[in-house]
């Protein structure tokens, strides 16, 4: 049987998630130039980790293999994104001979 997580933990996580939502919404009114996207992304990552660790009970997970799958999801996603974006961003760097 799973470990019972106290209601208080869920409540604190919920309040934190609401505050982070308010923060990211408020920050969108301030011009941080190129940092706007980075800050919004980092806040989203923090929120996602809170949901995964506490609401999805990853922090309390006994099975190591669940941790492996969760990490694998992030790893595959990063392969998909990093390599694809690296291609698109560097296409203009070199001239194509004959063009």
């Amino acid at each position: 049987m799973e470990r019972v997580v106290p209601k208080k933990t869920y409540t604190v996580v919920w309040i934190t998630l609401m505050c982070l939502t308010g923060l990211t919404a408020g920050l969108s009114f301030i011009n941080l130039r190129e940092w706007s996207t980075v800050v919004a992304f980092l806040i989203a990552v923090a929120k996602a980790l809170l949901v995964a660790f506490f609401f999805m009970h990853l922090l309390y997970e006994k099975q190591k293999v669940v941790w492996i799958w969760a990490s694998v999801g992030v790893f595959w996603l990063s392969i998909l994104m990093v390599l694809t974006i690296a291609d698109y961003m560097t296409r203009g760097y070199l001239r194509v001979p004959g063009k």
Binding site: M1, E2, V4, V5, P6, K7, Y10, T11, V13, W14, L17, M18, T21, T24, A25, S28, F29, N31, S36, T37, A40, F41, I43, A44, K47, A48, V51, A52, F54, F55, M56, H57, K62, Q63, V65, V66, W69, A70, V72, G73, V74, W76, L77, L80, M81, T84, I85, Y88, M89
Partner: protein
């Protein structure tokens, strides 16, 4: 007297647990672990499903940042922010529901699931209102799409991304609400015990995953063009 009724309840619970254990598992614990692992593997495939669309979005946003910013101005900022809060709150109640299933509180399990379901429907209603607004404003890609600013083609691309991402997310929400409806019914019928409630645990995992997807969609779509000077 209460001892006798407690005893009857315990016997009924054992009976129910025995009935819930499938023959290829040794114990309910083992069955729960398998179910949970299976759900996580499925969620990884879902990460890749949304990941493909998000990668497409990123590639085009890197290529046409101005058009994407201009398109994002037409997002309903308040509706999107409210929906984020609604979804996070729904996730909170789903997490509470899991707690209630684990401590064998049937009444509050049903209440928490019902609140989460209601909030899911609220989310979809607000999303529907936004879609209606985009339709009226001629911001749905296709023949009716109208654009007064420069780079109409790539502004339209932003809306293609927007409708695909939020559309598939909304589809997942519909599935999530339907799952909760079935589980609420079974919970109401007293189908779950602290030893056996895999469906509650797994539906919760699914719901939280869909919440995480929205946590990323919200800044991607709503917060990039907003009143920046």
């Amino acid at each position: 007297m209460s001892d006798a009724s407690d005893n009857t309840a315990l016997v009924a619970r054992k009976e129910l647990n025995l009935h819930s254990l499938h023959e290829h598992y040794e114990t309910l614990d083992q069955q729960q672990e398998s179910a949970s692992l299976g759900m996580w593997v499925f969620l990884v495939t879902e990460v890749m499903f949304f990941g493909g669309m998000i990668t497409g979005y990123t590639a085009y946003r890197v290529a046409y940042p101005e058009a994407f910013r201009a398109g994002s101005v037409y997002m309903l900022f308040m509706a999107g922010t409210l929906n984020t809060a609604v979804l996070i709150t729904a996730s909170f109640f789903v997490a509470l529901a899991v707690h209630m299933a684990r401590v064998n509180n049937r009444k509050w399990l049903v209440i928490c699931l019902s609140i989460a379901m209601f909030l899911g429907i609220v989310f979809l209603s607000i999303k529907g209102y936004e879609y209606w607004d985009h339709w009226v404003e001629h911001k749905v890609p296709g023949r009716t799409f109208q654009w007064s600013g420069p780079d109409k083609r790539h502004a339209e691309l932003f809306f293609v991304m927007y409708f695909f991402l939020t559309g598939f997310h909304a589809l997942h929400m519909v599935i999530g609400v339907s799952l909760l409806a079935v589980i609420t019914w079974f919970a109401y019928r007293g189908r779950y015990t602290p030893e056996y409630h895999n469906p509650v645990e797994n539906a919760a995992l699914y719901w939280h995953f869909v919440d995480i997807v929205w946590i990323f969609l919200y800044p991607m779509l709503y917060l990039i063009g907003h009143k920046h000077i």
